[in-house]
């Protein structure tokens, strides 16, 4: 567990600038939101908030899709994996690092959101519940991207993750059914993307539980594949 923590903290440290820019973006928008008449333009504020949610998922996929590649390209992975660190532990460390980065982003969004949206009448408990769903969706997206990045380049891993997450959601939107629940990123984000000021809080803990279960499954599959990969060959 200690190695997982060390790798996770190291990941956050290495990605501190992108994380900082993300947080600055959220805080900046919050400041702008507070300078306008929030009650009159509350729908606009909510739309911007929803945009930030989409950015969060996109960054989760980018972080997940490039984490292994960055370490391989810089050859830093050799020094880490030459220690008493197994491949499973290494991937768990990367996922925990991504989770830490996303937690900072989600917390910042929840904090600024409850400040700005709270002033215009949005339910604060609902907002924090939606942030938990958002965090779970981001983590699941990152786990999918990490899985694909164990055998694909970052570009193809990102594309494959997009397709893997998007196709079941599109099928559900087009034809109905429960396909989106196969990888429940869309069902988790749905209440947030369709959120309104009149929405009632409706907890869906089974969905969160399913997401957590799938994350563990994806991590195990990714570890199984990654253990069979040669990591010291050129990645160019």
């Amino acid at each position: 567990m200690r190695n997982v923590g060390l790798i996770a903290v190291s990941f956050v440290r290495e990605q501190r600038w992108p994380i900082f820019v993300l947080l600055l973006w959220v805080v900046g928008l919050c400041v702008i939101g507070l300078t306008v008449d929030v009650r009159r333009s509350r729908e606009d504020v909510l739309i911007i908030f929803k945009q930030l949610v989409v950015y969060g998922v996109a960054f989760a996929i980018f972080f997940g899709g490039s984490a292994i590649h960055n370490d391989r390209r810089s050859r830093r992975i050799l020094a880490v994996l030459s220690k008493a660190v197994g491949r499973k532990q290494y991937l768990c460390g990367l996922l925990t690092g991504i989770a830490l980065a996303l937690f900072l982003y989600c917390f910042c969004m929840g904090f600024t959101g409850s400040w700005v949206l709270g002033q215009s009448g949005f339910s604060i408990p609902l907002l924090w519940y939606l942030m938990i769903c958002f965090m779970a969706a981001c983590l699941l997206s990152a786990a999918v991207a990490v899985l694909f990045s164990t055998f694909l380049s970052p570009l193809f891993a990102t594309l494959a993750s997009g397709l893997f997450l998007g196709i079941p959601a599109l099928i559900t939107l087009q034809f109905g059914g429960k396909w989106a629940y196969a990888v429940p990123v869309y069902p988790l984000l749905g209440p947030l993307l369709n959120a309104s000021f009149h929405q009632q809080l409706r907890l869906e803990w089974p969905l969160l539980f399913l997401a957590a279960l799938e994350m563990v499954g994806l991590w195990l599959i990714a570890s199984w594949i990654f253990r069979r990969r040669d990591i010291a060959v050129s990645v160019e």
Binding site: R2, L6, I7, A79, V85, R228
Partner: protein, 308 residues
């Protein structure tokens, strides 16, 4: 005593992306490294040295064959706790040297005051004690290589695997590293050293293996490999240089190289000429000469063998 590092008929092939070609980096490679020795691992670029090392560290899986490191199959994470490794072209996280060494030590299960003390100790050993608080981002290649060595020895490993550890070092740093390796060996540790600096290898290694195109072409103690089985040098005094063809004179002594089979006759010629034999030595090659001899193949320089 069980072997520290053992390769058994190991083959490694890489697929070339988008083609049906395969590159064969190691072919039926077998080798045993004994405890307490400094083992030199030589070969031209692309001979398969780094591949062999990466297999041992578990960064790659052999295509066939098997190997053991400290009694465990290659790739065992727990075994690596007892191993130190320095990669070629070392690449480290950008943070202060002492913090970096502590990070790598912590990954090997070290902690607390012991780790902090040990980190400073190893930085001092590699001559970077004064730079411990500086971020390695600003370090030269030679300094980075020394920090790399510090992180490799922070856990006081039983086996130290070094891939080109002195390539970027200045002569002073090279001496520091050489002394460190000898001290390490004297404490009963084992060092597996891959290097192109043949003079270094000749100075510190007990045994040497030469790899060419993925195949082991020579293995033996450094002294036995450098000894020629074919020629002897006779040093004599009190004889005219013309006694032998191709003789040289130095400080009044006549030096002559004769085939081993003609050694007795040559000594008798010295005596018959009224001279005296001062010494009789087997002719020693330099490791460089041996290396060139063993790796001088037409395909050389084109790296590992490619198969369709």
């Amino acid at each position: 005593m069980p072997a520290v590092l053992e390769y058994e008929n190991v083959n490694k092939e890489y697929s070339v992306p988008f083609t049906r070609r395969k590159v064969r980096a190691l072919r039926d490679f077998s080798l045993v490294v004994q405890p307490g020795e400094i083992f030199g691992f030589l070969g031209p670029n692309g001979a398969g040295k780094s591949t062999a090392i990466h297999l041992a560290m578990g960064f790659m899986r052999p295509s066939s064959g098997r190997g053991r490191m400290l009694g465990q199959v290659f790739g065992n994470a727990r075994t690596r706790k007892r191993v130190g490794f320095l990669a070629e072209n070392v690449s480290l996280f950008h943070r202060p040297a002492d913090s970096l060494v502590r990070f790598y030590g912590a990954l090997n299960g070290m902690s607390g005051k012991h780790l902090a003390t040990r980190a400073l100790e190893v930085l001092n050993e590699v001559g970077l004690g004064a730079e411990a608080k500086r971020n390695v981002k600003g370090f030269s290649r030679g300094m980075l290589q020394r920090v790399g060595l510090a992180q490799a020895i922070v856990n006081d490993p039983e086996l130290l695997i070094l891939d080109e550890p002195t390539s970027a070092l200045d002569p002073r740093a090279r001496v520091i590293v050489r002394e460190l390796l000898i001290d390490f060996r004297n404490r009963g540790r084992t060092i597996f050293l891959s290097s192109h600096l043949l003079s270094e290898v000749e100075l510190v290694c007990d045994r040497v293996a030469v790899l060419n195109q993925g195949k082991l072409v020579r293995l033996g103690t450094t002294s036995s490999l450098l000894e020629s089985n074919h020629e002897t040098e006779i040093i004599a005094r009190g004889i005219p240089p013309e006694t032998f063809n191709d003789s040289t004179v130095s400080a009044g002594l006549v030096h002559v190289h004769v085939p081993v089979g003609e050694q007795r006759a040559a000594i008798e010629r010295v005596w018959q000429a009224g001279g005296e034999v001062v010494s009789l030595n087997p002719v020693r090659k330099s490791l460089e000469e041996l290396f060139l001899e063993l790796t001088n193949t037409p395909e050389n320089g084109s790296s590992s063998e490619t198969v369709a």
